[in-house]
């Protein structure tokens, strides 16, 4: 039986974001299918984070459109996009610094799942259950009562992930989830992302750590000056001349080729 072509979960059509004369994202189009893990790479200033700003509604596109499950969300507010099912983590390890770990996740679980017309007086069991589940998925159980501002880097990143998961997203946007982490911590984060993806959440990740990017992604998109210069399987990266020239360089691409070979053998 022929499977019908799956409808895209997220679709960007000719998305452009200008800051004055600079087009940080320049006519970018791509589609993301349910269940995919799309890795986005590219040099600093390529427009990767700006793309996330546009999709998550914090800094809407100048032109073009963003569709989520077929609905136009180009001009929707960040909170409406959150309620639609897109959750995002931040490069700068955002958190509610004065709140406890648990309260951080409670905010997301209570306000992030559905639009609320009237605030209630109690958080309720469903919120607590969602918070528990999110903390367990990322492995922060037992640190509930720590103050977020005092957490070490890895825990801050995990907390941000827990917050994103507590909103019950269909799509997770992760901005440099392993930037600044040690190799052991990177493996830990990799396992967490795999658990999330296994639960049926589509993931888009921005990362400079190529080992992490190629090992997780089912597809890779490389950006440069706001445009896509490569879109395809991770294995093709090292053979693409433009990608090697503008982003990877010879040394890194040789190391990456070795990693890919190792991965293929395993």
């Amino acid at each position: 039986m022929a499977e019908p072509a799956a409808a895209p979960l997220l679709e960007c059509r000719e998305v452009t974001k200008r800051f004055g004369a600079l087009a940080a994202v320049d006519g970018l189009s791509f589609r993301l299918l349910p269940g995919e893990i799309l890795g986005i790479g590219g040099p600093n200033g390529a427009g990767k984070t700006t793309l996330f700003e546009v999709v998550s509604g914090l800094n809407p596109a100048t032109s073009g459109s963003v569709l989520f499950e077929g609905a136009d969300i180009t001009r929707a507010s960040p909170e409406a996009i959150c309620h639609a099912g897109i959750a995002r983590t931040f490069q700068l390890n955002a958190a509610f610094d004065s709140l406890t770990v648990r309260d951080n996740v409670r905010v997301a679980a209570y306000f992030g799942r559905d639009r609320r017309w009237w605030p209630g007086l109690r958080l309720g069991g469903a919120t607590e259950a969602a918070a528990d589940e999110a903390l367990e998925t990322v492995g922060l159980v037992g640190k509930d009562r720590s103050i977020a501002g005092a957490l070490p880097v890895l825990d801050r990143k995990l907390l941000m992930l827990a917050g994103a998961l507590a909103t019950r997203p269909k799509l997770l946007l992760m901005d440099e989830p392993v930037g600044g982490l040690s190799p052991g911590e990177i493996d830990l984060m990799q396992a967490a992302v795999r658990r999330v993806a296994a639960a049926g959440v589509a993931v888009v990740l921005i990362e400079h750590v190529m080992r992490f990017l190629v090992q997780l992604s089912t597809r890779v998109l490389i950006m440069h000056h706001g445009e896509s210069i490569y879109e395809g399987p991770p294995e093709g990266l090292v053979e693409d001349r433009t990608v090697v020239d503008v982003y990877l360089g010879e040394g890194a691409s040789r190391r990456l080729a070795a990693t890919l070979e190792e991965q293929a053998r395993a």
Binding site: E79, A94, A95, F96, D103, A108, Y110, P119, R122, L123
Partner: protein, 327 residues
């Protein structure tokens, strides 16, 4: 026991203990000063929701207090509305004004909110004082619409003066205590509930809060609206307690006195503002005999707290708890 339940219990125990005071200390001075303490404590407990919990540096709280006081006096003076009805109506007027202030501040941050709200308070003050045209001409003389510099008097009271004679102030003590108890319960429900989480999330990181589903527009209006009700009611009760409402309720000195209470007690905590109000009113009382040194003394206390205990009296307790947890 959850933090909310503990606060509830403390609140009821404190209210019970304070209810005994007039029985133990009969002096009129102590009882009326305590009533004034209740009024200021109500204001700071609500102001703290905006200033401390939501981190919006609004200085409009005394203006909202004044709106409550003026609305009560005007309803009583012009329409002879009984005070029991006028007071909650006036509180609703304060809520409406506060929502407008909240809307005006929506796109401002930090010190700009302070500047705008202070300007709004000053404009209200000037509207009252500069209006000298006679609106009515009672036997006591020309009366501008907002009462002018003289203000309103004889607009009615709660009826205790007629009922209890010279002991009316004891009844007002209990009204004040009841008001503070309700205001505290209200503030506990907000701080310990989902709204408190939303306000604190927006205070800590507005962009992150929005992308976790907390709409800034909506919850900023909520905090402005909610914090105004008991503030307006306190203003209304202030009018009834003193029998006069004049432009003095806008005074900058009172605004700074109340702001200091929050800072000394601990911004953003449930009990801090109450502790700060108690401490500063006692200090003020203690320095009553030393004339001008009183203001200097209050200033020194404020400076000491800002330098040595930036998180206030409540921060002292929090630090104790976290140390106990670590060991």
């Amino acid at each position: 026991m959850s933090a909310g339940r503990r606060d509830l219990l403390v609140c009821l125990l404190l209210a019970g203990a304070m209810a005994l005071l007039p029985q133990l200390v009969g002096t009129r001075y102590v009882v009326t000063q305590s009533t004034l303490f209740f009024i200021w404590a109500v204001v700071v407990s609500q102001w703290n929701l905006v200033f401390g919990v939501a981190g919006i540096f609004s200085l409009a709280q005394m203006a909202l207090f004044a709106v409550g006081a003026y609305a009560t006096a005007m309803l009583g003076y012009y329409f002879a509305v009984p005070m029991v009805v006028a007071m909650p109506l006036a509180a609703l007027v304060s809520v409406a004004v506060s929502l407008v202030v909240g809307l005006a501040c929506l796109r401002l941050r930090g010190p700009y909110v302070a500047l705008l709200t202070l300007a709004i308070a000053q404009v209200l003050y000037l509207v009252v004082v500069n209006d000298t045209d006679c609106f009515t001409n009672p036997p006591s003389g020309c009366m501008p619409f907002f009462g002018g510099v003289r203000g309103f008097s004889r607009f009615g009271d709660l009826g205790f003066r007629a009922l209890l004679g010279s002991k009316w102030y004891v009844a007002h003590y209990y009204v004040g205590l009841g008001l503070l108890t309700l205001a505290m319960l209200f503030s506990i429900a907000i701080v310990r509930g989902p709204l408190g989480l939303a306000f604190q999330a927006l205070r800590d990181n507005p962009g992150y809060a929005r992308s976790r589903g907390v709409g800034q527009f909506k919850y900023q209006l909520w905090v402005f609206g909610l914090s105004a009700f008991f503030t307006g009611l306190a203003g209304a009760f202030y009018g009834v307690q003193f029998g006069v409402v004049g432009p003095i309720v806008f005074s900058l000195a009172t605004l700074l006195f109340l702001l200091s209470m929050m800072v000394v007690g601990g911004l953003g905590t449930v009990w801090g503002p109450l502790l700060g109000a108690a401490l500063l009113m006692l200090a003020d009382e203690g320095m009553r005999e030393v004339g001008d040194w009183r203001d200097i003394g209050l200033g020194v206390i404020l400076v000491l707290f800002v330098v040595l205990l930036p998180r206030g009296l409540a921060g002292l307790r929090l630090r104790g708890v976290s140390k106990a947890k670590q060991s």
